[in-house]
C-alpha cells in the first residue's frame, strides 16, 4: 500500500502499543540544550536511571549564551550555572557536547544539520518546539517537554499518538523579493495558528523542489507556529548532497546504502493524505506580522485588517494585538517606525540568510535611529561568514556583529528590547514580551525585509527600497 513518509518512519520506529493505546516510538536522535534538560537529568538521577543511548544524544548550548561576551564566567551567574550544569550532565553520562570552545556550538536546530546528525527517515526529539526544523531533511522531528526529555534519556522512546498528515503544496516560482519566510508566514496566515493541531505538515510542490535545504528549514521551523507538531519535506538529491561529507554522515560503502534507504522513505505516489491544501507561489508577496500571534500577518503593501472584517473568534485577539502593538486597524503597516533590527535565530540565522541580507546591505547605512544586530545561528556559520567578509559588510553598515546563539529571539540572555521598542525581526515569534520587554513589539519578516527596515528606520517594502 502506498504510504506517506510520516507513516513509513512511524512504522519503522514503533516499538509496541502501550496499554493506554499510544505507541511507544523509538527516537533515533535526541538533541538537548541547557534550558529544558537540567530538570530531566535531575529526574533520571532521582529515579536511579541511566541514559540508554548516550551515543544517540547530542548537546549544545544556545538560549542563555550572551552573544557579546566571549569569555566565561558570564556576567549573568545563572547563565554560567546553566552552562556548567550541561557540561557536568553530558560528562557524567557520556554525551557529546558541542561546547562554546569547539567552533561547532550554535542553535540546536542548526548544529544537527551542520554536523550531518539530522538525516532522512529518522526520528528526532528535542526539548524545544522548533525541532520541526529537522523535517527539512525528511526526518520526523518532535518538540517535547522536559518530562519527555527524561523519557528519551532513560528509554530512547516516547509515548505518542500518531498524527494526521496534511500535504501543503506550493507550486510555481516566487517573485523577486519573496522568500521562504514569506511562504511560511503566508501559510500560517491562511491556515491559522491552530490549524495544524493534530497534524504533521508535508510541504511539497515545485516551489519546495526548487528550495535549498536552508530554505526548507526556514519553512519547517515555523510549523509549530501553525499549530503542527512537525513538518517535513520529502528527501531528494539536494538533501543527500547537503549531508554528504559532514562529520556524522555515513562514509564509503555505507553512504550508498544510506542514500538508497533514505530514498525509500519518501512518500509514495498515490498515497492517501488526511488533507491537501494548495498554494500558488505567484500569489505570495513579502509578508509581515502586525499583531501578537504569527498568524496576524499581512502583505507589506496591504492594510492591516479592520476589526469589523474579522470573525468573532479573531476580533478579541486582534483588538488586544492592536492595543499592544500601538497600531491602528485599517491602516498600512508600511511606514511604521522601527527601533531595533534583529537578524538571526533558527528560522533565519543561516549562511544563506546572511549572504542575501549582506547583498542588499552592501554600501548602505543603518538609519541612525535604529539599533541593528546580526547574530549568526552557529559558530560554523559565523566562521564561514567571516571568511566571505560578510561581517565587514554588516559592521560597515552599522550592524553589531555577534557571537552565535538565540540572542534576541527570546529574552533569556542580555539581548532584549527596552520599553515599547518596535523590532523588525527575522525570528519566529511575536508574542507579547517575547523579546524581553513586556511592552516590546515584534514585527516578523524575512532577512532582506529586516535590512530594508534597518536602513529606512521603518517597516518597508524591500522590493521598493532595493528596486528588485
Amino acid at each position: 500500500m502506498a504510504k506517506t513518509l510520516f507513516q513509513k518512519v512511524w512504522d519503522a520506529h514503533a516499538v509496541r502499543k502501550l496499554p493506554n493505546g499510544q505507541t511507544q516510538l523509538f527516537i533515533g536522535t535526541h538533541l538537548i540544550h541547557e534550558v529544558t534538560s537540567p530538570q530531566a537529568f535531575g529526574m533520571i538521577r532521582d529515579l536511579g536511571l541511566k541514559v540508554k543511548y548516550p551515543q544517540r544524544t547530542f548537546a549544545t548550548v544556545d538560549h542563555i549564551v550572551p552573544t557579546n561576551e566571549l569569555r566565561e564566567p558570564y556576567s549573568d551567574p545563572i547563565a554560567q550555572e546553566m552552562i556548567e550544569a550541561l557540561r557536568k550532565n553530558t560528562k557524567d553520562f557520556g554525551i557529546r557536547f558541542f561546547d562554546t570552545n569547539t567552533g561547532t556550538q550554535g542553535i540546536v536546530h542548526m548544529v544537527g544539520p551542520e554536523q550531518g546528525i539530522t538525516q532522512p527517515g529518522t526520528t528526532i526529539a528535542c526539548g524545544d518546539s522548533h525541532t520541526a526544523t529537522h523535517g527539512a531533511f525528511g526526518a520526523i522531528a518532535f518538540g517535547i517537554g522536559t518530562t519527555q526529555v527524561r523519557d528519551v534519556l532513560a528509554t530512547q522512546t516516547l509515548a505518542l499518538s500518531p498524527l494526521k498528515v496534511r500535504r501543503i503544496e506550493v507550486n510555481g516560482r516566487l517573485a523577486p523579493g519573496v522568500y521562504a519566510k514569506d511562504v511560511i508566514l503566508h501559510i500560517i496566515r491562511v491556515l491559522g495558528v491552530n490549524g495544524g493541531i493534530g497534524y504533521a505538515y508535508e510541504y511539497a510542490g515545485s516551489t519546495f523542489d526548487a528550495f535549498t535545504l536552508e530554505e526548507r528549514m526556514t519553512v519547517c521551523n515555523m510549523s509549530i507556529e501553525g499549530g503542527a507538531r512537525c513538518g517535513y519535506v520529502n528527501p531528494d538529491q539536494k538533501t543527500f548532497d547537503y549531508i554528504k561529507g559532514r562529520p556524522y554522515a555515513p562514509k564509503g560503502a555505507d553512504w550508498d546504502a544510506a542514500v538508497e534507504r533514505w530514498k525509500s522513505f519518501a512518500s509514495d505516489p498515490g498515497c492517501r493524505y488526511d488533507d491537501v491544501v494548495k498554494f500558488d507561489a505567484a500569489d505570495i508577496r513579502p509578508t509581515v506580522t502586525w499583531g501578537i500571534t504569527p498568524g496576524q500577518a499581512v502583505f507589506i503593501d496591504e492594510k492591516m485588517p479592520a476589526l469589523e472584517s474579522l470573525n468573532d473568534a479573531d476580533r478579541q485577539t486582534a483588538a488586544d494585538a492592536y492595543q499592544h502593538m500601538k497600531l491602528s486597524p485599517d491602516t498600512p503597516i508600511k511606514g511604521t517606525k522601527v527601533d531595533v533590527a534583529f537578524l538571526g535565530s533558527c528560522t533565519n540565522g543561516r549562511i544563506s540568510d546572511l549572504r542575501e541580507a549582506a547583498k542588499y546591505l552592501k554600501g548602505r547605512k543603518v538609519s541612525p535611529s535604529v539599533k541593528a544586530i546580526v547574530v549568526p545561528g552557529s559558530q560554523l556559520t559565523a566562521i564561514q561568514a567571516v571568511k566571505e567578509g560578510l561581517d565587514k559588510v554588516f559592521t560597515e553598515a552599522g550592524f553589531e556583529w555577534r557571537g552565535a546563539g538565540c540572542s534576541m529571539c527570546l529574552a533569556m540572555n542580555p539581548d532584549k528590547l527596552v520599553g515599547d521598542q518596535l523590532c523588525a525581526s527575522s525570528s519566529n515569534r511575536n508574542f507579547k514580551g517575547r523579546q524581553g520587554s513586556q511592552t516590546g513589539r515584534t514585527v516578523l519578516m524575512s532577512p532582506v525585509m529586516v535590512v530594508a527596515a534597518a536602513i529606512t528606520g521603518q517597516v518597508a517594502d524591500a522590493r521598493e527600497v532595493f528596486k528588485v
Binding site: Q39, T157, A411, M412
Partner: protein, 206 residues
C-alpha cells in the same frame, strides 16, 4: 511507581480568559533561567499580573480567590482556545500547577502543552465554544465558585449546570488509572526497544 488516580477534581475556579495564550505569557523566558522548576509558581503570568512600573495590576491571579487556590494547592483554571501555544517549555504547566491549579478547562489546548500537563497529572478538558462561554461567565460572576471536573465521566459542572467535556482517550486512560506518567510503561519492555533499535541502520551503526 504508584501514582494517584485522577478521576475527578472538585475545587474553586478562576477564569483566565483569552484565546491563543502562549507559553511566553504563562511564564516569561527570564524565569527559565533555572536548573529546577522550584519557585516557578509565584511567577505564573508574571507580566500580565505586574505592570512595567512594577505595580500589581488587575488580573484574575491577583485576586483573593486565586490566593485561596494557592493556599489550598487545589483549583480549576478556566481558559480559552489554543491555550499554551508556542514554546515547548514545561515550565508553563509547572508554573500553573505550582501556583496551585490542579485541573484546566478550556476550548482547546496546544499539543505540547497538553502533553506536558498530562505528564504532571493536570487534566486539561475541552468544552464546546458555547458551553465554555457559559462556564466562563459563571466563574467570572462568582470567582472561586466550585467547579467539578469529571475526568472519568467526561463532564464539567458548576452551579447545577453540567456540560459534556472531551479529552483524548489515551490521556484520560492514563489519568484515571494512575498511569499518567508514562515512564513505567516505557521502561516495561527493554527487549522490544532493543529489537527496534537493532532494526534501524543509523542506530545500530550498520
Amino acid at each position: 511507581m504508584s501514582l494517584a488516580k485522577i478521576t475527578l477534581v472538585r475545587a474553586s475556579a478562576v477564569a483566565v480568559p483569552g484565546d491563543d495564550i502562549d507559553t511566553d505569557r504563562i511564564i516569561p523566558a527570564r524565569f527559565l533561567r533555572c536548573v529546577t522548576f522550584d519557585g516557578l509558581g509565584e511567577h505564573a503570568f508574571r507580566d500580565e499580573r505586574t505592570g512595567p512600573d512594577g505595580k500589581e495590576r488587575a488580573h484574575p491571579l491577583n485576586t483573593p480567590e486565586a490566593a485561596a487556590v494557592s493556599k489550598a494547592k487545589k483549583g480549576v483554571m478556566v481558559v480559552g482556545f489554543n491555550f499554551g501555544c508556542g514554546s515547548s517549555r514545561e515550565h508553563a504547566p509547572q508554573s500553573i500547577w505550582r501556583f496551585g491549579f490542579t485541573a484546566i478547562v478550556g476550548g482547546s489546548f496546544a499539543e505540547i502543552f497538553f502533553g506536558n500537563s498530562t505528564a504532571l497529572g493536570v487534566p486539561c478538558l475541552s468544552l464546546s465554544k458555547d458551553d465554555l462561554a457559559e462556564l466562563t461567565a459563571l466563574v467570572q460572576k462568582q470567582p472561586g465558585v466550585e467547579v467539578t471536573v469529571d475526568v472519568e465521566g467526561l463532564k464539567v459542572s458548576c452551579e447545577g449546570r453540567s456540560w459534556k467535556a472531551t479529552i483524548p482517550a489515551a490521556a484520560r486512560d492514563g489519568l484515571i488509572n494512575g498511569k499518567w506518567d508514562p515512564i513505567a510503561d516505557l521502561l516495561g519492555d527493554d527487549g522490544a526497544v532493543n529489537k527496534t533499535a537493532n532494526g534501524l541502520a543509523y542506530v545500530a551503526g550498520k
